[in-house]
Amino acid sequence: MKILVPVKRVVDYNVKVRVKADGSGVDIANVKMAMNPFDEIAVEEALRLKEAGKAEEVIVASIGPAQSAETIRTALAMGADRGILVKADGVVEPLAVAKILREIVKAEGPGLVILGKQAIDDDCGQTGQMLAALLGRPQGTFASRVVIEGEDVLVTREVDGGHETLKLALPAIVTADLRLNEPRYASLPNIMKAKKKPIEEKTPADYGVDVTPRLTVVKTAEPPGRKAGVVLGSVDELVGKLKEAGVI
């Protein structure tokens, strides 16, 4: 079985982005970029399934600017086998990404697609579910545990109030939540090896997908700020203030 893992190049988790003064977007020039953290978890899970003998090959795909090749290299250095880079500049919305991934799935025939549950830039959380819909296949979102059992996959999901486990017929789509695993660091020898692993270059047009955005961004603004309040001297003073405000 092959496993496909789509990965996205995003602003690094630790960077606090700034909104541009003219409201045209967020300033990401000269900002550190990295693989979306949930996608790292997805790559790790695919590698663990391969190491457990449940899969033969892990393919990584990224849709984005030319520099997304670096993101693919990161996954190859972790241990993925090969990459597919679909070059597209500008915003590619989840629906268009899902359409491109559908074509990659048709060509490669993976038994499992593992994605991050959301990208930490647009916070949409749509691509996995959309891909499952377009393929007419079952989905296991927000996964905290993935177990392959014959022709099925058991997915334990993080849901409001606890966990639930679903049994999905393969091929299936899984999206990774935070606690599915802890991704490994790439070792230096593996980083060197990754440089020789193949990355196939494609364009959306190769897959016949129109990536024109459906949504128009009217403006981007700073969220309403909060002002720092007062540091109080005692618990009694705090309880008094809260009673005054009518919240307790």
Binding site: K16, V17, V19, F38, E93, P94, L95, K117, I120, D121, D123, G125, Q126, Q129, M130, L131, A132, L134, R137, P138, Q139, F142, S144, R157, E158, V159, D160, G161, G162, H163, E164, T165, L166, K167, L168, A169, L178, R179, R214, L215, T216, V217, V218, K219, T220, A221, E222, P223, R226, G229, V231, S234, V235, L238, V239, K241, L242, A245, V247, I248
Partner: protein, 310 residues
């Protein structure tokens, strides 16, 4: 224009998130029908019928919908899609799971986690963990929207109950099945809808301490309990307690952050609370920059004092 609101419910009752998403749906204008899909869920449908602004309730009551899995839910919603211009659901784990599947089947781009509706086609939504607010306009013929419930007040009950109609189900999908669930039972209010939330962070050092110091104060206040990602990752608190960008987004009347430094990912989940209290040993902790009231000190000392003072 008619909107289909997808109810989040427990079969026997509606979740508060539904009434909040209803307020958002009202902002779109036009009639609002509510879909209550589940098993033995007539009680939830009747509760939905009483909500103010609902003009009709569609009831889909079938064993295949018991756990509201995405595959049968999306197929059902799409089978009803011809009559509707917009589809709204609260951004709960069910809404987030089901709605993008609906959007893709309808070939439209979903508007995720919207925090304000400016007009029937223009929405505000947070991006980058709430560090920026984007205003987006959709040209798609049908709108699929999930709603950040913390941004909307719950709709109340109306004068007369709307009619409840049973709907036909599309052909069954057998690719997914429910195996089991571990849902924590608690007498405390649900985190996402609670009026008071008290959250703990890494400072508690163990699961025992987390319970021992947070629970008595939570009980006195009738508060829900939350946690920072650090506390959850360290095993001090269960996963579903996590407040933040990737956990639950809350906006209670009062949020008490205990031993939480205030990473941007945590702030993203609670900074819309009306009053924020921070209790932390480190007076330089970023949480104090968003707190209305702060106490600098040890949570192990302050929380027992607080329990006595309440």
């Amino acid at each position: 224009m008619t909107t289909l609101l997808i109810a989040d419910h427990l079969n026997t009752a509606l979740r508060d998130a539904t009434a909040k998403a209803l307020t958002a749906a009202k902002a779109l204008g036009g009639g609002i029908h509510v879909l209550v899909a589940g098993k033995d869920c007539r009680a939830a449908a009747e509760a939905a019928a009483k909500l103010d602004g609902v003009t009709k309730v569609l009831l889909a009551d079938d064993a295949s919908l018991d756990h509201q899995l995405a595959e049968p839910m999306a197929a059902l919603i799409v089978s009803l899609a011809g009559s509707y211009d917009a589809f709204v659901a609260p951004a709960t784990t069910d809404g987030k799971n089901i709605m993008p599947r609906v959007a893709a089947l309808l070939d439209v781009m979903q508007l995720s986690d919207v925090s304000a509706i400016l007009s029937p086609d223009t929405f505000e939504r947070p991006i980058y963990a709430g560090n920026a607010i984007q205003t987006v306009q959709s040209a798609d013929p049908k709108k699929v929207v999930t709603v950040r419930t913390a941004s909307f007040k719950a709709a109340g009950e109306g004068g007369t109950a709307a009619p409840v109609e049973t709907v036909a189900l599309p052909a069954a999908d057998s690719t997914s099945a429910f195996v089991g669930a571990e849902i924590a039972k608690s007498d405390r209010p649900e985190l996402a809808g609670a009026k008071i939330v008290i959250s703990g962070g890494r400072a508690f050092q163990s699961a025992e301490n987390f319970r021992k110091y947070i629970e008595p104060v939570a009980d006195k206040l009738g508060a829900a309990i939350g946690a920072s990602r650090a506390a959850v990752d360290a095993g001090y608190a269960p996963n579903d307690y996590q407040v933040g960008q990737t956990g639950k987004i809350v906006a209670p009347e009062l949020y008490i952050a205990c031993g939480i430094s205030g990473a941007i990912q945590h702030l993203a989940g609670m900074k819309d609370s009306r009053i924020i209290v921070a209790i932390n040993k480190d007076s330089e902790a970023p949480i104090f920059q968003v707190a209305d009231y702060g106490l600098v000190g040890d949570v192990f000392q302050i929380l027992p004092e607080m329990e006595k003072a309440l």
